[in-house]
Amino acid sequence: MHSFGYRANALLTFAVTALAFVCAISSFSDKFSNQNPSVEIQILNINRFKKQSHGNDEVSLTLDINADLQSLFTWNTKQVFVFVAAEYETPKNSLNQVSLWDAIIPAKEHAKFRIQVSNKYRFIDQGQNLRGKEFNLTLHWHVMPKTGKMFADKIVTSGYSLPDAYR
């Protein structure tokens, strides 16, 4: 009952249980943080808007993204993954979500930013539906914790539209 093996086993079990408990409550503590992020997105310029050789519409645009995500960071946050997606509807597809830009915010100091950037990923439709199309630009964020439950949310800004003709 007092051999090295028994003691090591008891210590190890207790250590693992305590560690699991600490991970669980640190994840649980994320529920109590007050979060009020804000974002403003503007389209600065439509750089290119054409039909590709195999038929699909493609847009290239420059965005101005002004965001304050500092309230999303808690002591249990490892990083926040943020991306801007264009969301729109077409006759064939009830929902299209195309990510235009994303970034990883490693710490609270970097979470308040304003950047002008052109789309990192190609904005290509499944078809030729983009002329005159109205769409939303949604800023999504994904909080990745040091341990435990990840959570994600978004802010939708609407009212953007593409020109009626190709350029």
Partner: protein
């Protein structure tokens, strides 16, 4: 000399009973682990409720050796979700983020494009030859939670199988030689 025979017999029978008890206890431990695993599969709705991150394509969020908890609900797949998918021709499932989603109005089917956070390009190179979208049946689950470092045990056991055999050998030895 009947009592010698009796003593020898009783010694032999104790050994056998002990051995059988230990075998049954071991069997109970293994089957309860299996029950827990299957119950987890039921509750989360996916065939692999826990996976180990094997590559660095989602760094710095997920490092090699982290464990991800997955669920699969009937909710539609949306951009930003971290999905686990398998493609024909690859047996190891991949954990990346959905960056493009096109959902058909009438059938509800989706075309999904994924990309690892730390990769330069999207995953088209990882899909099957000629495939440019993932569909719902490729996707096995969504990551909802994570624990760092715990998965290294699995990685070590897979990459150096000798350690697995040593561990099982030691466990077997402990079971046989323990007094209770």
């Amino acid at each position: 000399m009947g009592w010698i025979g009796e003593t020898v017999d009783s010694i032999k029978s104790i050994k056998i009973r002990q051995l059988l008890t230990q075998a049954v206890t071991l069997g109970m431990i293994v089957t309860s682990a299996l029950i827990i695993w299957k119950a987890l599969m039921c509750v989360t709705g996916t065939e692999s409720p826990v996976v180990v991150v094997l590559s660095g394509s989602m760094e710095p969020g997920f490092q090699r050796g982290d464990i991800l908890f997955l669920t699969m609900t009937k909710e539609p797949i949306r951009t930003g979700e971290i999905v686990v998918f398998s493609v024909n021709g690859r047996d190891i499932p991949i954990v990346h983020r959905a960056i493009k989603v096109h959902e058909r109005g009438n059938t509800g089917e989706v075309d999904v494009l994924t990309k690892g956070d730390n990769n330069e390009v999207d995953d088209i190179g990882l899909y099957e030859e000629g495939q440019i979208w993932l569909h719902r049946h490729h996707i096995m689950g969504r990551a909802v939670g994570f624990l760092p470092y715990v998965g290294w045990v699995t990685i070590i056991m897979t990459e150096k199988p000798i350690i697995k055999y040593i561990l099982i050998g030691v466990l077997g030895l402990l079971v046989i030689t323990s007094k209770d």
